[in-house]
Symmetry: C2
Subunit: 234 residues, 2 copies
DNA sequence: TTCACTCAATTGGTAGTACCACTTTCCAAA
DNA sequence: TTTGGAAAGTGGTACTACCAATTGAGTGAA
């Protein structure tokens, strides 16, 4: 009866979590996103714990973004939500004083990798979205539009990479850095949109785009680095 | 009285979390790691909720690795623990079917960035640890020792980068990939340690080391890529 | 005085009950 | 057939009681 610990042992061995958490984790591992868990009352009986203790762990798993509890409906297995991770990271940055700059470099690392993988895939349809963002960026005369186009570009870049983990972490980081980015954007919005600066941005993004279109991962990575070096100093 | 929402508003605006979670998050943000929270009974009264509801959220925050509850002692603010994130990621990978390969590429991206930053810092003391790992790798005749030295090398590389966020994410990913790595290691342990393979590994690591020692970020990144390309095909 | 021990207060952990609000289902009435 | 609402089920909260671990102050002896 205690033989099916293929998936469970790795969790219980790696993390010295309490048995109840591990039991729940193993249960969830056997389910798929969207599946409905047994009701709290049933599950409490089945696991031989009180509903109070069970809810404590369910709260934890919901905090981790693994579960979603819907009042009146039930508890469901969730797909990993980047915003849940972002919530944790936000708290951690405040309480643990993780420097924003160090997070920025993680973001750069992910974007660089995304560019490389996008170049390897070279999916014409997905790459077209990047091109559209660049065109928008070049056509407008408003700082706000440039910022929007910039966001759209980086988003389409991640999509073009087609790497779910990369997308997940990058989105989580984006959420974390949103406040910082908002401050920076605010500053840029109050600056006049100089033609030279706009041309510079368009040029940088075009280089990334060209490298990906050409299927050159190394050139794509260099282009991303050049981009972030430039806006880092602006 | 409602003016001090500099840190709080970002949380409540970004995440549509319930008020209680946000209130707790704001409280935690004003504290430092190691600080002790009020007792559950006091906090429940202060926030005007039941201890039941409060414990539900505390469970969530503990799951996120932000808090640590110690029976009989109290609840304390924690520094961000990579293993907590790894726990969540493990569950997420199982339930959301995030491909291991996509996670590997995130790991590569982080390691590449670490190499670049280590080269920029060029801290002789920290770099020396990398050299030691390489020497160990070259001197031994056991597969197990090579694997240990390999781990030591990548660990000292992250340390040499001196980027806390990079280290945090890389460690979390290492924990997640531990099972997969264990399988791979197992396979390697049963293979004979060919001199050519060992020389290849030593050569790859030496290239990374040399580039960092020379303070050349680009070369360091290329060396990391070369390394992972090679072991990816082995 | 100093050290070691005991014990009571405090704290987190669990159990159980009751009730509320919301959702879903299904059956009966139009 | 359609529609309305009742009923059952679910998560959310509150409250009480008790357990186990920790802490610290007080007490005792050396």
């Amino acid at each position: 009866m205690t033989i099916e610990n293929d998936a469970g042992s790795s969790l219980s061995e790696l993390f010295a979590a309490d048995p109840l958490s591990v039991a729940l984790a193993e249960l969830i591992q056997e389910m798929r996103p969207g599946d409905k868990l047994p009701s709290e009352r049933d599950l409490a009986v089945r696991l031989d714990v009180s509903r109070t203790a069970l809810r404590d762990r369910l709260g934890m798993l919901e905090g981790l973004g693994v579960l979603r509890r819907r009042t009146g409906a039930g508890t469901f297995v969730e797909t990993l939500r980047p915003d849940a991770l972002a919530f944790a990271l936000n708290l951690a940055i405040s309480s643990s004083h993780l420097p924003l700059a160090s997070l920025e470099s993680v973001r750069i690392a992910l974007e660089r990798q995304a560019a490389a993988e996008a170049a390897r895939r070279a999916d014409p349809v997905l790459i077209a979205y990047m091109k559209r963002a660049i065109d928008t960026m070049a056509a407008t005369e408003l700082s706000a539009d440039v910022l929007d186009a910039d966001r759209a570009f980086h988003q389409s870049l991640l999509r073009a990479a087609g790497n779910p983990s990369l997308t997940f972490f990058a989105e989580a980081l984006s959420n974390v850095l949103t406040k910082d980015l908002a401050d920076r954007s605010e500053r840029l919005l109050h600056e006049p949109l100089t033609t030279s600066r706009q041309a510079l941005l368009v040029d940088h993004h075009t280089r990334i785009y060209d490298a990906i279109l050409a299927g050159d991962p190394d050139a794509a990575m260099r282009a991303v680095d050049g981009h972030f070096d430039a806006i880092g100093n602006s």
